[in-house]
Symmetry: C2
Subunit: 342 residues, 2 copies
């Protein structure tokens, strides 16, 4: 690992993974190509970040589909944890750990608008700031507590229950006194849900009769459904809700492409007859609140009340495969790619 | 019309319209049969109601499909306005105007659990207590103001805009300073929306390109959608919502049968990306609040700020056709059947 204390001797080459073609649905490794360049110069009022961890997040499927967000030939848009190695912004110091949109590359020239959080004094290993203390963890904290704060005794259902968002939702809900049920995609993840994340029960949605399983898990219905998938899981869960239940729509991982939107059973009668409240949550509308959420989550972590797992690959060339594996659900914890070497 | 001042000389016969077979979707006239019987005796703690107006309401489609609510051979479940002609309940006086579940018949023996409202001193013609001051008007008042109170400048979209619920929603929203856009099913109803109910514009959904029309009516999107239809109107409207907009699901008139639920385009991504809040409203959960809502609506009516229209048929045998016409949208105001004759 490179010495983290500036000043650095910058290398000649900035390793980069570029988006080579527009993905058809979920990105595939062949959609990316190595295309190294020079380390960028640092503009006035800006700073240079040495990436340490590239993050692979489900939201990148949308980013890869969006030409305005990820032009062809540009480094893949990605959240990363890095260290400021040079700063021409008087308010940002070299040596700061930062988390933001630095892309799949070793070095990024960035401004404060590219940051989601600044970690002046890390309280935990810095990889956590891309996961349990990053966008996924902050999403879980704000979406659950803003839109559907659990009460003691509530039955809470979480989809992608072992994922970077779901695993934090499950733990917060249980700490608020709820009984939390998880849906996930493998026996290994079922075990992590119950052994690590405090779920009362978890089910492999690929291996069970979903309607019957949900009816058995909550005979009187779920008070809260925190949904990261949409699709058939949503269709079953909405029909297992208690009247006046709340659904948080935080992701739609089950559907690879929305143009045109796929068909499913109409759900408006369930919203009506069950008097549900179904709300969407977009974390990027809440960037100003990352600090408060990170503080709260850090307190939980340091008190030993917030388990998290990381699935860390090493080497920038591993990023496409790691993204594909994460989207397929074969990862076992927050997917990160360590690039601090070399 | 029978003299409304008790005591009455009760007739020999109670005219009744019975549900003869379980409807397949929307009830049809042949689903009902006249089956008169004796005027029921009044039990202790109960009262006898002489119906004046039978109401035809969209919710009757669900009631007719439900064997627990409307057994075959029983009078069709219906809300009605009537007068108490005999009371063995010390708290209910003969001569009171009452609104409740009295069914398609001349006389009903009822208890307080069958009442939605009691009109000790009518402030307006009593037919209004089944419409603008009845379940439809109270639904509009509570659902809009509970779940999506409009602010000045809001763009509000209303489906079944000229209907008994929609026409009240439109007027309340405009009085709160919103610009209100209506969707309805005929040129005549479009004209009533703009001439009578204060809509800034209204459109015949059968005659326009819905997506283009909604985009033109609210280029920045709708803040609120008050939906009584679901189906394709919902699918278009949800894609015309402003971010952080609110949808009130108050009815699903577009779909005649929900077993099995029909398919439509998946809408969860719209909930997510637009950060919508989509809530269902069931008026029958709010019976205790009818009084407050009727008082507020009566004040608006008496101040000349609440237009309403009634489409009144005469004679109990007209009830099935009136229900069918209302479900088909060929009525022109709240559908009532006057049965006070003979």
């Amino acid at each position: 690992m490179a010495d983290l204390i500036p000043p650095y001797a910058l290398p000649e080459t900035n390793r980069r993974l570029l988006l080579a073609r527009r993905p058809d649905g979920t990105p595939q490794p062949a959609d990316f190509v190595r295309g190294d360049g020079p380390v960028p110069a640092c503009g006035n009022g800006r700073f240079l970040v040495r990436n340490l961890y590239l993050s692979a997040d489900p939201v990148q499927r949308g980013w890869a589909a969006n030409a305005a967000l990820t032009p062809l030939g540009a480094p893949m848009r990605a959240l990363c944890v890095g260290v400021v190695v040079e700063s021409r912004d008087a308010a940002v110091a070299a040596g700061e750990i930062v988390y933001g949109y630095f892309g799949w590359q070793d070095y990024a020239e960035a401004g404060r608008e590219d940051l989601l959080s600044r970690v002046v004094a890390p309280r935990v290993p810095v990889s956590a700031y891309a996961g349990v203390l990053g966008m996924p963890g902050v999403t879980a904290w704000l979406a659950l507590l803003d839109l559907a704060p659990p009460k003691p005794g509530d039955r809470v259902l979480v989809s992608t229950a072992a994922g970077a968002v779901g695993s934090v939702v499950g733990q917060i809900a249980r700490q608020r006194g709820a009984t939390v049920i998880g849906l996930t995609g493998s026996a290994d993840k079922v075990a992590r849900c119950t052994d690590r994340y405090g779920y009362a029960a978890a089910y492999n949605y690929k291996a069970v009769d979903l309607a019957g399983t949900l009816a058995g898990a909550a005979p009187e219905g779920f008070d809260i459904f925190f949904d990261n998938t949409g699709g058939p899981i949503l269709d079953a869960a909405i029909r297992a809700m208690k009247r006046y239940g709340r659904i948080v729509q935080c992701g739609t991982a089950a559907t690879a492409s929305w143009s045109p939107p796929p068909a499913g059973p109409r759900n408006e009668r369930e919203v009506l007859m069950r008097a549900l409240t179904w709300s969407g949550f977009v974390i990027f509308d809440h960037v100003a609140r990352f600090g408060e959420a990170i503080d709260a989550l850090s307190d939980l972590m340091l008190a030993g009340h917030l388990a998290h797992d990381e699935d860390i690959e090493a080497g920038i060339d591993r990023a496409p495969d790691a993204l594909v594996a994460m989207m397929a659900g074969t990862n076992s914890g927050k997917t990160l790619i360590y690039v601090g070497e070399g």
